[in-house]
Amino acid sequence: MFAPTELNHKNRRNQRLVRMLFLWMATMLIIPVVLILGILVYRGGPMISVDFLLTEPTNGMTAGGILPALVGTVWLVVVALLASVPIGIAAALYLSEYASDNWLTRIINLAIINLAGVPSIVHALFGVGAFVLFFRFGTSILAASLTLAVMTLPVVIVATKEALQSVPFAFREACWNMGATRWQTIRRVVLPNSVSGILTGVILEVSRTAGETAPIMFTGAAFFLPFLPQSVFDQTMAMSLHLFVISTQVPGVPEELPFGVALVLISMVLAMNALSIAFRTYLRGRKKW
């Protein structure tokens, strides 16, 4: 009565086969990560020292440390965040909490999707035209950071919108029914319950901003500049561009040096990601509904 038919056998075989196939695909994802990290640590690891982090490049960038690039990247990221986070969160709040479904909202959403799809080199040229030339910021941290901000704005908006929309709609209705305005509802119920999700999105944005090269190449990042920037109107070195330069543009760079720079850069990004993951885990632990 319970004897399997030929069709049962076939289904079971297929199911095993498909499962194996998918497992394989998924496992292959580990390979590039392990290879990249492994090679970087193996070849770049010996380069890392306090001196490497805290001194300037010397001998035409063939020796010395990476301090100006490290500090420059921090400047670029911080200024970019100062521009993109307030704008992004305000836009997301509008789209998620206030906007009704009309032509304006649809145009804004379309603009965000398209902004996310613009190649980074096009953003770079836009930055040159808009910030460097039109607004006369010159090639500076300000111009480069604003270019980065425009580029990462969609990330902030989408992450914030998702965080806001994870707060159940019933909470909003309950508040409105008490006579709360939309803003009172946002401030007392929606934001306190989504702020952590928003922060997670922001941290992810940081890691992305830190690694970008093209948008800052023509707008504010310098080939070689052995000084620390003093204001947002200065040019600066940056980790990503520095890596590109010493790997391809400068003769006589010792082979291990680019590995060391890449290791520092990827460590910065991974540290940010780890922070973001830790944050999310912490939040999930104290989820309130």
Partner: protein, 271 residues
Amino acid sequence: MVAETPVTASASNARVQTEPTPPFVEVQDLSIHYGGKKILSGVSFDIYENEIFGIIGPANSGKTSFLRALNRMDMFTPGMNVTGTIKIDGHDIQRWKNVYALRRRIGVVFPLPVGLPLSVYDNVALAPRLAGIKRRSELDIIVERCLTRAALWEEVKDRLDSLGSLLSGGQQQRLTIARALSQDPDLLLLDEFSIAVDPVTTMRIEDVLKELKHEITIVLVTNLVQQTRRLSDRTAFLLSGELVEVGETAELFEGKVRDQRTLGYLEGRFG
């Protein structure tokens, strides 16, 4: 002076007898559409002060939409279109400029309890805080009074700081009622409040409602015909957006109906 007093008294008595108190809520020719779909078509009825007004009817008869129209939630509901007039206390609510002030006078309890992710205390203190009350001592009094009236105080008085959303379903529903009462409303709207509540708690809440109606006018939307029989003074029967009948609850259940469909629904022959 002394001689005049009885004259005044009898005059006011006479006035009460000749002019019945105006209805607290007047609904005239109210229609509600969602997009192109008609939910409620031209209903008119009155709700009197300090009564429990039951609204019964099967799903999709427009009960919940009526409640939404009552506190102008149509403003926050895309596609919802309300025509006709609703007057509360003599004022046309469509012309009420500050809808937030209107909603503050109307407490709402939903079918599923909504414990906001705040502490028990903050859940109940939210509406007073929104209304601008900041003094802790004042809030303490309101919180205790509302939780007591909602028959929840004894169970939560030792854990006012724990999360409201972590209470049991029945407790959360009473918390929702306490929150609605914290607005000090003139009108309390209950939308099938007992769906997620056990029978014992339901009975306790029903007792609370019977007490409350001396101070507040209550509109009770329910799927449970027996609940409206136990609680409401008058009952309206809605069917597919049409008002079939409004009448004294006792009379309806005695079979004194004008429309045979009412009798059929009350006796459970359809619905």
